[in-house]
Symmetry: C2
Amino acid sequence: MNRRNFFKKSALAGAAAISIPEIVKAALPDTSSTNDLSGQNLSKGATILLQGDSITDAGRNRTDENEANKQSQLGNGYSLFIGANVLANHAGKELKIYNRGISGNKVFQLAERWDKDCIDLKPNVVSILIGVNDFWHTKTNDYKGTIVEYEADYRALLARTIKALPGVKIAICEPFIIHGGKALDNTWEGDFAPYRNVAKALAKEFKLIFVPFQSVFNEALKKADAAYWGPDGVHPSMAGAQLMAQAWNKAVL
Amino acid sequence: MNRRNFFKKSALAGAAAISIPEIVKAALPDTSSTNDLSGQNLSKGATILLQGDSITDAGRNRTDENEANKQSQLGNGYSLFIGANVLANHAGKELKIYNRGISGNKVFQLAERWDKDCIDLKPNVVSILIGVNDFWHTKTNDYKGTIVEYEADYRALLARTIKALPGVKIAICEPFIIHGGKALDNTWEGDFAPYRNVAKALAKEFKLIFVPFQSVFNEALKKADAAYWGPDGVHPSMAGAQLMAQAWNKAVL
């Protein structure tokens, strides 16, 4: 089954709602167009879940984590910018958006908390950004996991998700580095690439959406350096997080 | 002098830089377009200042207020969403953005701190959102200021700004209410309108940009209620703040 087409078809019933950029156009008819999300993929009442590590977490308030759409539970990173944009652009659809990223997580740690932090929420859209710690912690935290385990764990997590949530739309976000960042050394370019490639291959294998963040940041670095987009090379700046949200919107919605 | 055209002309030198949506397009060539700000109005090294009351302030960290572009000093409201979007979309232009809104401010209080919190920053773009407290505090805080004083103070502030900062681009943001909000009663619709009208008339008088936030929220209320866009009718929600940022981007940039 091509689940992406399935989702698109099932969401058509909610497509009559006019997206918020049209509100802005109506209020400001004499100036140029703003962003233009179609929103065809979000059915009324849909739940969106953002999952991952510190990049997703970004200081979210865990006490509020059951309060969908609350700003504090979305944190201060790309999850916040996605949430704000989705809610502004799809008013009237009664969407729910949650951030359940946890700083430091590797893919096996997502799996450990997946029932509580994914399946139980019954999401219609699940976005996953994971992988940088699966590599990084082998260098800094004496973590012994391998690329083979990372791939097996990630594949099992996806299969489990699809089985538990028929019709779910899954977006695999490419783990990335921002070249020139202070936490990176010369080994990252070659040694981290397999982790990116696994994510991309799994997206293809399961016919899932793929958000090519590495390509996004590579393009971004033509305009400004890592200090601008993410000083340590792993955690995006505000500008980097906003850029991620724009890319995510384009790829997923 | 038509200062808006002046600014556009003077900014042409910086227009060769490609805006960030093109980065997203380059990285994601197979999907639909994202937002498409022209950015022709922002010259290299330009300073943008956001000024106003609690709506602008939105919990900003005053300790960091001299650190341009720092997320904490931008707060958690529309200023943050404007800042993130501007920096993501205009990388390489070395822009500086500051939030100097202060909760509770009326126009005379902006004037009291205008040298320190505007003129001294030498901004190229100044965005002002003020007026709701000039009315609200007459109802709740025993404030004795009148609409006549509001208009005179606001006109003097604008004349002073234009004199001190030749070539500055000023955006007058319309003060607004979100109909149905809990802090509003039936008197607001009629009695607050003159404050909105003064802001609009002053923008016309000085040939400044006008951001019609009341129209934006009136349109938004066709899609969802005040609980969604700003529960108390004065302070926008996350979705409301994002909507403001989208409108601001469209009107100002």
